[in-house]
């Protein structure tokens, strides 16, 4: 482990997280809710393992970034907000989609490029959108979603205050990787959020690397990211993103305050991706020892142990849950394989709301469709 790497269990008051030690469960949360967090994390993990397999089998194309290791972040954060709070993220987005409630079949089928995908196969791995669950994507350009996140918060505030003449009552969660810290648009977004009192919380999923570049090699003051929020008048907290309970507890309080005050927030969410940046990453920029150290801090193992220690679950129940999840993910693969590819008519759908096209110069689009050009 290099000295500049984020350390596990950085959150104040958090238990020493040497797997498989347990930690106290949060008061005031029903045990079955905490079990559902564990289930969601296990689902994401299993889903991503099968995603990697499917990618290797060439069932999934393009760029593909898996969430293994970071599950506690999406699950803990989602648990801390309400269903009507908007959420938006970057391209490592399968975990957020599942945590937010997307049917795994629609998530998997999107990567398979099938009509059953959440975006009818037009978005792919990096563009998971789920209107019913207030997930505003999946965005591929690093940092671009931070301005959209400010806009979502602007809109909820405008709706609540201007259209309904009430008080601002929703919080937007905008996720980004530590690689987005240095995009100009993020600085502009923080300035706008601070300036206009926008209720948006920027959750920096700080996994220590922007692709293959360790954070200190690309980011100034990498040891204290809070200064990058303070510069814009935004309150910052640091959270142990490897501990789902800590994520929930810290984020719940932070989101509640943001909702109450209609002020932006910034979270340095210390986490680690167990796999490479994308499917084509040999991980030469970090040591296997470092990886092993973080894998020992596995957020799923930690919550499992805590629930078993607290007597909420026993090993048999965990095993049954794992079996159920395996079947669910396998079913999502089978469903995606069976889902048809988007038909040629889809090529020109959704370019404009009210279709006037297709625009193809003076060529007849029917020729394109019937000629088997796809």
């Amino acid at each position: 482990m290099t000295p500049t790497m984020p350390k596990p269990a950085a959150s104040p008051g958090a238990a020493e997280s040497t797997f498989p030690s347990s930690r106290p469960l949060p008061a005031g949360v029903a045990p079955e809710t905490i079990v559902s967090w564990l289930r969601d994390m296990m689902l994401i993990r299993e889903f991503e393992v099968r995603t990697m397999q499917a990618y290797q089998e060439k069932k999934i194309g393009g760029f593909c970034h898996v969430y293994i290791g970071q599950e506690a972040v999406a699950v803990g954060c989602t648990a801390a907000i309400r269903p009507d709070d908007p959420m938006i993220t970057a391209y490592r987005d399968h975990g957020h989609a599942l945590a937010r409630g997307m049917d795994p079949r629609h998530c998997m089928a999107e990567m398979f490029g099938k009509i059953g995908g959440c975006a009818k196969g037009k978005g792919g791995s990096m563009h998971m959108f789920d209107r019913a669950n207030n997930l505003f994507g999946g965005h591929g350009i690093v940092g671009a979603q931070t301005a959209l996140g400010a806009g979502l918060a602007f809109a909820t505030k405008y709706e609540d205050e201007v259209l309904r003449d009430g008080r601002s009552d929703r919080v937007t969660l905008c996720f980004l990787g530590d690689g987005a810290l240095n995009q100009g648009v993020f600085h502009e977004s923080k300035n706008l959020a601070g300036l206009f009192d926008l209720p948006v919380i920027y959750v920096v999923e700080n996994n220590g690397y922007s692709m293959g570049t360790a954070i200190h090699r690309g980011t100034t003051v990498a040891h204290d990211l809070s200064v990058k929020a303070q510069a814009y008048g935004i309150e910052a907290i640091e959270v142990d993103g490897m501990d789902c309970v800590a994520v929930y507890e810290r984020m719940k309080a932070f989101c509640d305050r943001c909702r109450e005050t209609s002020r932006p927030g910034f979270v340095d969410m210390k986490t680690y991706r167990f796999k490479g940046h994308s499917m084509s990453d040999p991980r030469k920029y970090r040591t296997r020892e470092e990886e092993a150290q973080y894998e020992a801090d596995d957020p799923i193992g930690k919550l499992k142990t805590s629930l078993v220690s607290a007597g909420v679950l026993d090993e048999a129940a965990v095993k049954a849950m794992q079996k159920e999840i395996r079947a669910e993910v396998r079913a999502s693969i089978e469903w995606s394989e069976a889902s048809p590819a988007p038909g040629p008519e889809e090529l020109y759908h959704d370019v404009y709301v009210e279709k006037w096209g297709p625009y193809t110069g003076t060529s007849d689009p029917e020729m394109l469709r019937e000629g088997g050009e796809r």
Binding site: F136, A147, L163
Partner: protein
């Protein structure tokens, strides 16, 4: 600059209604009327509120609608363009004023990657009903970075619509349509036309997108122009009629996306000659696109190849004489028409 001579007042004109207002006030009326009609519509941009608009387009709007709906932005184009796109994804209807379209280049990722593609990438789940508007084209000795004609650069992108009015009547009617449109609209104005006066009736009207208008009828040569260059074409047509006996049919495209090819083709089938005027550079441009489409549709009708008049293929110079030499003007259009008619 006054309203072009020989230009019809527009389909919504009522006999006896001679109200004339400036181009900037026509834009103001369009925005204000739509904001009164729909509380989801709001205006944001640099200097739009307390300063009353860098070019006084939004004059008085802060007083009427208040700071919640007429919002001053810091100089942060990428940030506030993205903010507005996020708000549009939620169903609000933002109008984003770029002081100049030249500054929109700073926001290229947001306005090109996010606004026009959101509907498609989300499989139809999230649209982007937004209007980006501001001054496009040479303002007069502003130098190269401030003199962008963005139409050719941006019209390449599917998912967006693009309107380019040539007079106050169209400015109001097209902007109202743009604000009600469910898709992102790039609305190109011109600093050189903001003070132009023209007939704008009191009663409400909208101008649908994709409907070009014949500004002057003629049998000898079709001249297709957009925005400010329509005036150059009208001026050239006057001289050509008087000096050369050439009758030009001048078509004002009004919108670039969608492009009303039918009106252009009908005219070319009559005149058998076509000149396209486009204030942007010629390479991979709106002008070359129109020329290509006319050539494809009218191959057997054309007596000559389609001629094009563009800005010269150089960065916009500062010096007055050089800038004038670079921009399209009536003289260049006259030469192109004469050439197209084998009269040079």
């Amino acid at each position: 600059m006054t309203a072009m001579t020989g230009m019809s007042a527009g389909p919504g004109a009522v006999a006896g209604d001679l109200r004339e207002i400036e181009f900037r006030d026509a834009l103001n009326e369009a925005m204000s009327e739509e904001m009164r009609r729909d509380p989801k519509v709001f205006l944001l941009g640099e200097e739009v509120a307390e300063y009353d608009g860098a070019y006084k387009v939004s004059r008085g709007m802060l007083a009427e609608f208040g700071p919640r709906r007429v919002i001053d932005m810091p100089i942060s184009e990428n940030g506030f363009a993205g903010l507005a796109i996020g708000a549009a994804m939620m169903g609000l209807r933002p109008i984003v004023e770029f002081m100049s379209w030249s500054f929109s280049l700073v926001a290229a990722d947001q306005i090109l990657n996010n606004a026009p593609k959101m509907l498609y990438m989300s499989g139809g789940q999230y649209g982007c009903p937004i209007v980006f508007r501001g001054n496009d084209g040479a303002g007069g000795q502003l130098g190269s970075t401030h003199s962008w004609c963005v139409e050719s650069l941006y019209a390449n992108v599917p998912g967006l619509k693009m309107a380019i009015p040539s007079n106050p009547y169209d400015a109001k009617g097209l902007l109202k349509t743009a604000i009600r449109d469910p898709d992102p609209v790039f609305f190109l104005e011109s600093e050189r036309m903001l003070a132009m006066k023209g007939h704008v009736p009191e009663e409400e009207y909208l101008i649908p997108f994709g409907q070009a208008i014949v500004r002057r009828e003629g049998a000898d040569c079709t001249v297709v122009a957009f925005g400010r260059t329509v005036h150059f074409a009208m001026e050239a047509a006057e001289v050509l009629a008087a000096e050369d006996g050439i009758a030009c049919e001048v078509i004002d495209g009004r919108t670039i996306r969608p492009l009303d090819l039918d009106t252009i083709v009908a005219s070319v089938r009559k005149t058998n000659r076509c000149v396209v005027v486009d204030q942007s550079w010629s390479f991979a441009s709106v002008g070359s696109e129109v020329a290509a489409q006319v050539s494809e549709a009218c191959f057997d009708d054309l007596d000559n190849h389609v001629h094009r008049v563009h800005a010269d293929d150089v960065p916009a110079p500062y010096a007055f004489e050089l800038e004038q030499a670079m921009l399209p003007n009536p003289g260049k259009i006259r030469r192109a028409v004469r050439s197209a008619c084998y009269r040079d």
